[in-house]
Amino acid sequence: MLDRFSFKGLSKDLLAGLIFIGFGLAFGHASLNYDLGTALRMGPGYFPLVLAGIIILLGAIILIQSFFAEADETPIGGVPWLALLLVIGALVFFGVTVRGLGLVPSLFITSFMSASASRQTSLLGAALIAVFLTVVSMLIFIWGLGLPLRMFGPWINF
């Protein structure tokens, strides 16, 4: 019984229920700052508050169901932390540097980071993919579609 509970402690439904309740509480709490109005003239807080109530209710049902469900579900499985860090990091890096560095260097490093998120890609392989993607993107987006993006930004002096 005890080990079943410890397994259940990490079940998908339990986590999903908690996440939905969490979102509901956060949105619900924030909606209270806005004018609720009446059912006739709803204020900006009315509809979000109703939705927050519904999602908390649904989250609670999922949560309660998780205690009674059969323990036959597939495990959550591991998280590829390094890959997650590299992919998300690549996106953030692009956002931070695309104006300053310009498209070419920013995209090159973004592609390099995301390519190395695969365990099957070596550093050299990632660099090659990054060079290829940068060249292709320049051809498609700058030369082909004529997007108004700077290739090299003010942080680099040429």
């Binding site: 900006p44 927050a52 959550i76 499985g77 590829p80 997650l84 998300i88 996106l91 995209l107």
Partner: protein, 501 residues
């Protein structure tokens, strides 16, 4: 004879050189992402959407639509050749199609898929052209109460047709609706849930949401467990069908076209349901039921025709009511809005060239797809050898440039990152991302119509039940929920979807 005049106008628009070219680009890209497992049409349309902003509206929509139905064709290729469906609606094709490939009949399997898809796609496009005008006339009588009920029905139906837990799918819809609330309130102008970020005043960029929950979350899922694909068939020879094959596929294609056309209108991935339903139907009707699962050609002909018919008719709610039946349709609504067109019943009258041009382009697109998929099958087989580790950095790079180019706003890129993490966590917990995106797109509309309907009825919520069309729509929504929660139906539903996993 209106139909012929309208289609004439449509072909005038669709047959210009630019539009044929972009229709071709669309179906080519669609086939490509359909073939390649790990990239779906939703992510692709989201990434390419910003690029189409510089096009004429009709050209943009022709290309985006092409990506969507092109992916239905392409998905069958990888399902048959490597037993990995490139698109969820092709999952059922893999069962018998891959068995046929193992028996050295990959050619006839691919040909059957293409012929069935072409026939079904053409018929369903004609249905779309016939059904659209009367439906828009009905829709023009809709008031806010009807629209509110219609959106509720659309959201609920997307749940009933999704697989997995219904409660979770409902919660995903509500979460999407809540994300849709971010930004300035329509009536009072008050910023909501913006945390003081000025960038959020106009709401979370919906391209960021789509790229995040479909593109990035999917990439992270795939990186959990990297596998190398093995290609069973290196060369496909002999695409011809025997007389016996023809005899066996005609009825399944006809039945599946009808079934798919009806199910495609339903919101929420009707094309996936259509292919599963058609497979079960053919299995039941077949004299040699035992052959199913061991390479029955009917098991390829039915589902492939059904999903293509459904892909075409799922444009009906979009074009007539402005309600998306599929996440890709939700993105196409975004494309309409960005081009300054409000999707809905007025499009057919205000922009007849656009409306009929897009419909006519679907025929051209379906024809191009047959040419692309049969004689050029060798190229797609080669494409399957591109490893995923080279593909996903390209997806990320294109997503970054595309999203940034919309508003030259770095905030939209950070939104992708956040939505990617949220999407990844929820998908990992068996929550489907499609209802979230539909909720996100429809949230503001739902709130607007609710508030307007309540003002018109002077605060009486009974208005939704007193107006007959509104009451009817809500009743259907309630029945859909109750039915999908009933234990017996639930078991059936799980059986239908079990083969997908």
């Amino acid at each position: 004879m209106d139909l012929i005049n309208n289609l004439g106008l449509g072909f005038d628009v669709a047959l210009t050189l630019t539009n044929i070219l972009y229709c071709f680009v669309g179906v080519l890209l669609g086939t490509l992402v359909g073939v390649l497992p790990g990239i779906g049409p939703t992510g692709t349309v989201a990434i390419l959407l910003p690029i189409t902003f510089t096009f004429e509206p009709v050209t943009a929509l022709i290309m985006l639509a092409g990506i969507y139905y092109g992916a239905q064709y392409g998905g069958s290729t990888s399902a048959i050749l490597i037993n990995l469906p490139g698109e969820s609606s092709s999952a059922v094709t893999a069962i018998d199609g891959h068995q046929m490939a193992r028996q050295g009949r990959a050619g006839p399997a691919l040909a059957t898929a293409a012929i069935g898809s072409f026939f079904a796609g053409s018929v369903a496009t004609l249905l779309l052209a016939i059904a659209a005008p009367p439906l828009t006339r009905l829709a023009l009588q809709f008031g806010s109460a009807e629209y509110f009920s219609l959106i509720v029905l659309g959201l609920v139906a997307s749940v009933a047709l999704a697989h997995g837990s219904i409660i979770k799918a409902l919660a995903m819809i509500v979460l999407g609706l809540l994300f849709g609330m971010v930004g300035q309130d329509l009536y009072s102008g008050q910023p909501r849930f913006t945390f003081g970020y000025f960038e959020l005043y106009s709401g979370i960029n919906f391209v960021s949401v789509a790229v995040g929950v479909f593109g990035i979350a999917e990439i992270l899922r795939n990186l959990e467990d990297e596998k190398t694909r093995t290609l069973l068939v290196k060369n496909v020879e002999n695409l011809w069908l025997t007389k016996e094959d023809w005899r066996r596929i005609i009825m399944p294609i006809l039945r599946a076209t009808g079934l798919g056309s009806i199910l495609g209108i339903l919101p929420g991935g009707g094309h996936v349901l259509a292919s599963f339903a058609s497979y079960s139907l053919e299995k039941k009707l077949s004299k040699n039921e035992k052959e199913f699962g061991r390479g029955a050609i009917e098991g390829v002909a039915g589902p492939e025709s059904a999903n293509n018919a459904a892909a075409q008719t799922s444009f009906i709610p979009l074009m007539t009511l402005g309600i998306p039946a599929h996440p890709v349709m939700a993105l196409i609504i975004g494309a309409f809005i960005i081009h300054g067109i409000t999707p809905g019943p007025n499009v057919i009258n205000d922009e007849p060239a656009l409306f009929w041009g897009v419909i006519a382009s679907m025929w051209i697109g379906n024809l191009l797809l047959v040419l692309l998929n049969l004689p050029l099958i060798g190229i797609w087989v080669k494409m399957l050898t591109i490893p995923y580790r080279m593909l996903f950095p390209a997806i990320i790079a294109f997503a970054c440039i595309g999203t940034f180019s919309i508003g030259l706003n770095a905030f939209d890129i950070y939104a992708i990152a956040v939505m990617g993490i949220v999407g990844y966590v929820l998908v990992k917990l068996d929550c489907e991302p499609a209802p979230l995106l539909l909720g996100f797109v429809l949230g503001p509309l739902l709130e607007e119509h609710l508030r307007r309907a309540m003002i018109i009825s002077r605060g009486d919520p009974m208005t939704f039940l007193e107006r007959p069309i509104s009451a009817g729509l809500l009743a259907v929504a309630a029945i859909a929920i109750i039915l999908s929660l009933l234990p017996s139906i639930r078991r059936k539903r799980e059986e239908v979807f079990v083969e997908e996993d």
